[in-house]
């Protein structure tokens, strides 16, 4: 049974928690003291490994393992770069965390930088969040004045400088190598891999890139130990996760859940989303940000085998792409029966086309093509053969590109057709009806 334990957001509502003084009074920076005074960098890496935490930026790669891959050649600086680009539609959890409790991230950055042996670390934040950047810069200044940053932290001889870097409005800069290019003052074109950032990252030096939420969690892991963290959650999905919920639910917002919480409880209990808005029924969910496969309501509640679906990496992906999806970044988008899946798919396609960096032709051409065909269908000019054409284009992009944006663009289209094909067909056979404002095809059997 999932508990309601909170480790990232337990103090988020304390008045003044954005200031150093209040954060410190409430136990803040204890992890820095413990890490720097009582632990060695390797011991910290070991605790993070034991915690089993997986990267919260979307890919879910084990954080401790990533840290242990970092190359450590003599005389070459190493970098920690925090990914606060947060541009995946449906995802707004890092925004919430950084603006409300900035010191949690700063504290995590200090602990993590110490563990990795970095003396200069960066927090890359999407440029639109300039007001959050100013909040972080203020928090850094406060931490510095209190001796937790800068030269000779707490008299240990360890130096660390934190730099907040603004992006310029480009989703692709969330991809870690594009982010590094951007941080070097260039266009955000993803790099060919290998070499991986752990060997050659920022300024050609060994670099770890981690999500805001991942880094913010390290303080708790240091304070309580990796084993304690690993007790939370379910199976290989250890710990808690921030879920940002949007769409047709009664209470959209950011929630911290213990992994393993049943999806049904998350949607319908008053503690979380409070159910679907009055008088409506759930039709579909995109559970982990716009990139992950969309599922009809019946399949998000229960797996194809009839097991209750849980909020965990494994349960959400149960059934593979045929009947499952992914936890991704935790951007949970709920849609009721008034939602037109074709229109939503077209909207997402337009997003990916707009955000493709254009380096590889399957992505550049394919995203444009999908957007065009979906636009045609949505506006009553589609042909039956267009549906298979879309499936074909999506398949040709998948796996054939430099970075995963190509996959991210293909999955929403492939999954929408897989589960809502009748809705696409209806648009084609009923072009006049389908283009009426508010008209939606209804297949009642999938509603919950």
């Amino acid at each position: 049974m999932a508990s309601d334990i909170k480790i990232l957001t337990d103090k988020i509502n304390i008045p003044g928690i954005e200031t150093f003084e209040v954060y410190r009074k409430n136990g803040g920076y204890a992890a820095v003291e413990k890490a720097i005074k009582k632990m060695s960098p390797d011991e910290i890496v070991e605790e993070v490994k034991k915690s089993g935490i997986r990267g919260r930026g979307g890919a879910g790669f084990p954080m401790g393992m990533k840290w242990s891959f970092l190359a450590k050649p003599e005389g070459i600086p190493r970098y920690l770069v925090c990914n606060g680009d947060e541009s995946e539609p449906g995802t707004f959890k890092d925004h919430y965390l950084m603006k409300n409790i900035p010191h949690l991230l700063i504290e995590g950055m200090i602990v993590s930088s110490f563990a990795l042996g970095a003396n200069k670390s960066f927090i890359y934040v999407r440029g639109e969040l300039m007001y959050v950047i100013r909040i972080l810069e203020k928090a850094i200044e406060e931490a510095k004045n209190a001796g937790f940053l800068g030269k000779n932290i707490l008299g240990s001889g360890y130096d660390l400088e934190l730099v907040v870097q603004p992006g310029g409005g480009a989703y692709i800069c969330g991809e870690e190598t594009a982010l590094l290019e951007s941080l070097e003052g260039k266009r955000g074109n993803p790099r060919n891999k290998p070499p991986f950032p752990a060997i050659k990252g920022l300024y050609q030096s060994p670099t770890v890139v981690n999500n805001v939420e991942s880094i913010a969690t390290t303080s708790w892991i240091i304070n309580h130990g990796g084993d304690e963290y690993a007790k939370l959650g379910i199976g290989r999905s250890t710990g808690t996760k921030l879920i940002s919920a949007s769409g047709h639910v009664k209470k959209p917002g950011v929630y911290e859940i213990e992994l393993g919480l049943p999806v049904e409880e998350f949607i319908y209990s008053d503690q979380y989303l409070g159910g679907i808005r009055e008088g409506h029924q759930l039709k579909a969910v995109v559970a982990g940000g716009s990139s992950v496969p969309i599922l009809p309501a019946n399949l998000i509640m229960k797996t194809a085998n009839g097991e209750p679906r849980l909020m965990s990496y494994e349960s959400l992906s149960d059934g593979g792409f045929a009947t499952g999806t992914m936890l991704g970044s935790g951007g949970f988008i709920a849609m009721d029966e008034t939602t037109c899946i074709v229109r939503n798919t077209w909207n997402f396609s337009r997003f990916y086309h707009h955000e493709s960096c254009g380096q590889c032709s399957p992505c550049r051409e394919g995203t444009g093509w999908m957007e065009k065909v979906l636009h045609k269908i949505e506006h009553g000019h589609g042909k039956m053969s267009d549906i298979d054409l879309l499936v074909d284009v999506a398949k040709r992009i998948e796996g054939n590109t430099i970075c995963p944006l190509g996959d991210a663009a293909a999955w929403p289209v492939g999954s929408a057709i897989r589960h809502f094909r009748d809705e696409f067909e209806w648009h084609i056979t009923h072009p006049h009806e389908a283009t009426q404002k508010g008209a939606v095809f209804m297949n009642k059997s999938i509603l919950v």
Binding site: P77, P89, G167, R187, Y203, S246, G253, N344, N347
Partner: protein, 162 residues
């Protein structure tokens, strides 16, 4: 348009501070923050501004053009006093964003990428602003406006028109 481009004293100091954040041979990293500073002062980024920024950071002008044209936040044409950047992406649309946007366009009497004749407002459509559960939303400069509906739009526009 041969307006002389020169940062204010404050901004020049800020540029020095920004350059100091990176390793000495990595001045180019300062480009995005300095372009933001430029847009803060001039409202948009002209080619004269890009040349000026190139000079500040010892870059070739083309290195600045390449970057300024890649990132959508930089306005490469003159804009109105208030640039409204409206989120058009899925979750905000799901929460009623399309109707609210229609109302906004009607209220201002312009379409996307246009500026009102009095030069007060420019309208731009942008992608997800990381505020999806608080949508529909738009941004004007650094400020986020969330939970928008027709009435709120009217109030905001009237307020900014004063």
């Amino acid at each position: 348009m041969s307006e002389k481009i020169e940062f204010t004293e404050d901004r020049l100091k800020k540029v020095e501070e920004i350059i100091g954040r990176y390793p000495a041979d990595r001045k180019k990293s300062a480009l995005l923050p300095v372009l933001h500073l430029a847009q803060e002062q001039y409202g948009w980024v002209s080619s004269a501004t890009m040349d000026y920024v190139a000079g500040l950071l010892d870059l070739q002008p083309v290195e600045v053009y390449e970057v300024a044209t890649f990132y959508t936040m930089f306005h490469l044409e003159p804009v109105g006093k208030h640039v409204i950047e409206y989120c058009r992406t899925g979750p905000c649309s799901t929460m009623g964003g399309e109707d609210v946007y229609d109302h906004l366009k009607q209220k201002l009497g312009i379409k996307s990428n246009e500026t009102t004749s009095d030069g007060l407002f420019t309208l731009k459509e942008v992608e997800c602003l990381a505020a999806c559960g608080w949508g529909p939303c738009f941004q004007i400069r650094e400020k986020y406006y969330m939970h928008l509906d027709n009435q709120k739009i009217d109030e905001i526009i009237e307020d900014l028109s004063k």
